[in-house]
């Protein structure tokens, strides 16, 4: 069982573990984890990694997310120097330090949050995305700090912040330091609210625990991708507590919408247009129409199929 499976709330399960059972070779073909259709990879990529057959939104990495969300022009990574800190010298079966270096090596990221400054259809914004493959997107010091500083930059420049969250929750190896990141990120979001600087939170599968009970649900506008799982407690914990089976669709986007936790469910292929439209109205700034945008990288690389296999840390 990979680290990601273990950090996830029990009962959530990662796509990686489901995918490993797939008999389809990586490369040209990709199997949808939901409908099990065997898909031609370039078709999937053209569709922002949404299954063309069943519309399942596959999990995508933070860089791919930001790359397809932001305009190609003037996009730059920011706050890349923030590193995780092992203040507790946490050790279980392995040292946290070693787990961190393994995750860093496997993902080529310093920690689980990537921040970029860029534009959305010409509108200057700051966008951050969680890298779920890094410790299940869990929030420790580095994630909390980067989110907070990105939000502070948005505040200073009075430009919107968009966050794509995917996280198992607080990172237990940083114990109370990670819990306090909830307070820290919520505090800076509150400042944005007071200052009228827009914050859009996009929930992508899955979001649980400390991230759900802080930055993910505090957006001026809360959006979820279709069928994303989001909640405070993991389904297994709830089942153990109440000794009942959970209803179908529990903690899915549609459940969140029905219970008033989110404003809308937005299909991944419509995410750019939707958020641009919303932010244009909130900031009273004009957009640069989409057709004037340079083509997205995916559109040029249709023939290249040597995408690295996803997953395994």
């Amino acid at each position: 069982m990979s680290w990601i499976d273990r950090i996830l709330p029990s009962g959530v399960g990662s796509e990686e573990s489901e995918k490993r059972s797939s008999s389809v070779p990586e490369g040209l073909w990709k199997k949808c984890v939901k409908c099990e259709a065997v898909l031609y990879r370039p078709d999937v990529e053209r569709n922002d990694d949404v299954c063309p057959k069943c519309d399942h939104h596959m999990r995508i990495g933070a860089r791919q997310r930001l790359g397809s969300f932001l305009d190609d022009a003037d996009r730059e990574e920011i706050l890349a120097d923030i590193e995780p800190v092992d203040r507790l010298k946490f050790k279980d079966k392995k040292r946290y330090r070693d787990r961190l270096s393994a995750a860093q090596k496997a993902t080529n990221e310093k920690d689980a949050l990537i921040a970029m400054r860029g534009a959305l259809q010409g509108l200057p914004i700051i966008a951050v995305a969680f890298e779920f493959k890094f410790h299940g997107g869990s929030m420790g010091y580095a994630v909390g700090e980067k989110f907070t500083r990105a939000a502070q930059l948005a505040l200073d420049e009075r430009i919107p912040l968009v966050c794509f969250a995917a996280s198992g929750g607080a990172r237990m190896q940083e114990a109370l330091i990670s819990l306090m990141q909830m307070a820290k990120t919520s505090a800076v979001i509150e400042r944005m609210k007071i200052e009228g600087v827009p914050y859009v939170s996009v929930m992508t599968d899955p979001i649980y625990g400390g991230v759900s009970a802080s930055l993910a649900l505090l957006g001026d506008i809360n959006i979820a991708e279709p069928d994303a799982r989001a909640g405070f407690a993991g389904p297994n914990i709830i089942e153990q507590t109440i000794r009942q089976k959970l209803p179908k669709g529990f903690q899915r986007s549609e459940f969140l919408l029905e219970h008033g936790a989110i404003d809308m469910i937005v299909h991944r292929t419509e995410m750019r247009d939707t958020i641009a439209r919303l932010l244009s109205k909130l900031t009273k700034q004009p957009l640069t129409p989409a057709e004037e945008q340079p083509p997205l990288p995916g559109e040029e690389e249709v023939d290249e199929v040597t995408i690295a296999p996803e997953g395994d840390e």
Binding site: R6, M172, M180, E190
Partner: protein, 315 residues
């Protein structure tokens, strides 16, 4: 095993039984055994001191969850006067896992908010074992905003096994209710003092735990995930909870070293439950000292300091 003593306290329990027996004998006997009782009492105290000077993180978690551990409802009448409980979130219901109301601390009106686990079985059920639902956090928020309007400081007493993990909790937005409290408490324009009196479990504790000053009782515990939960994830067995407690640093001494907790309030020998009045008095004095010093500061400075502190977590 004496249920009023924890496993590591059993040698003390045995001594106490001997003392009791001697007292019974002494009452109808010519022989003067009072000196013998004194010796045993002295021995019991020394033994308690010895055991309590060397508690593991997991032992402290057990003391924090001790069945006789004083709760919010034990402390409120001992710390404050004129407590008027206020109920309800004005939207859905009244969550008895969170108690709130206006009281006096000497002459000063204060808003008191605390989690209550309940004592007797019926009371425990009524209070959902101290596991608040969204309406609990929203009641707390309502009371905090009232405190801000009427310029009253807020004192929160933290003692919860966590926010309630249930279907109704999720339906009514437990995550949002906690997140909203974190956001508002970061800027609430009145002094906030938070004290972990027993078990501070994760987001459920933090939901009433953001403020200007965070104190812990000496044998209270505060963690991001329960040691059992952590052990289950890492070792696939809750038997490893003692290791998890050690690794996560769930005690006031470590959390104070990390700069997360500002102060530790010493407990009576053998834990707060051995002398609730003394414990309450110490908490009371601590709150007064803190409020006195906070009130010296202009409110703007207090809020700037609170925000700076939030931003510094982990640095």
């Amino acid at each position: 095993m004496n249920p009023n003593y924890l496993d590591f306290e059993q040698p003390i329990a045995e001594l106490e039984v001997k003392i009791e027996e001697l007292q019974l004998v002494g009452s109808d006997n010519e022989i003067n055994i009072s000196s013998e009782i004194e010796t045993l009492r002295d021995k019991s105290t020394k033994l308690t001191e010895k055991i309590y000077s060397n508690l593991s993180a997991w032992d402290i978690v057990k003391v924090a969850r001790h069945p006789l551990r004083p709760h919010t409802m034990d402390y409120i009448p001992r710390i404050f006067t004129e407590f008027d409980e206020l109920h309800g979130d004005r939207h859905f219901g009244d969550d008895r896992a969170i108690v709130g109301g206006i009281a006096r601390l000497d002459d000063r009106p204060v808003m008191v908010i605390g989690q209550e686990k309940g004592r007797a079985v019926k009371d425990k059920v009524l209070r959902n074992f101290g596991m608040p639902k969204p309406e609990g956090y929203r009641k707390a928020l309502r009371l905090m905003e009232m405190a801000e309007r009427f310029k009253m400081p807020v004192v929160t007493l933290i003692d919860t096994p966590g926010a309630y993990p249930g279907i109704d909790s999720e339906e009514r937005g437990i995550s949002e209710s906690i997140a909203q409290n974190l956001a508002v408490m970061s800027r609430l324009a009145t002094p906030i003092i938070c004290i972990v009196i027993g078990e501070g479990s994760s987001g459920g504790a933090l939901g009433i735990g953001v403020g200007d000053h965070l104190a812990m009782l000496q044998y209270a515990t505060y963690f991001v995930i329960s040691p059992e939960g952590c052990a289950n994830i890492i070792w696939k067995s809750s038997d490893k909870a003692p290791d998890a407690a050690e690794a996560m640093g769930v005690t006031s001494s470590i959390l104070q070293e990390l700069g997360i907790v500002d102060a530790t309030i010493p407990e009576p020998l053998g834990g707060a439950h051995r002398d609730v009045d003394l414990m309450a008095q110490r908490i009371r004095e601590h709150i007064i000292t803190q409020l006195d010093s906070m009130e010296q500061l202009p409110l703007e400075d207090l809020l700037a300091k609170r925000y700076q502190r939030l931003m510094s977590y982990g640095n």
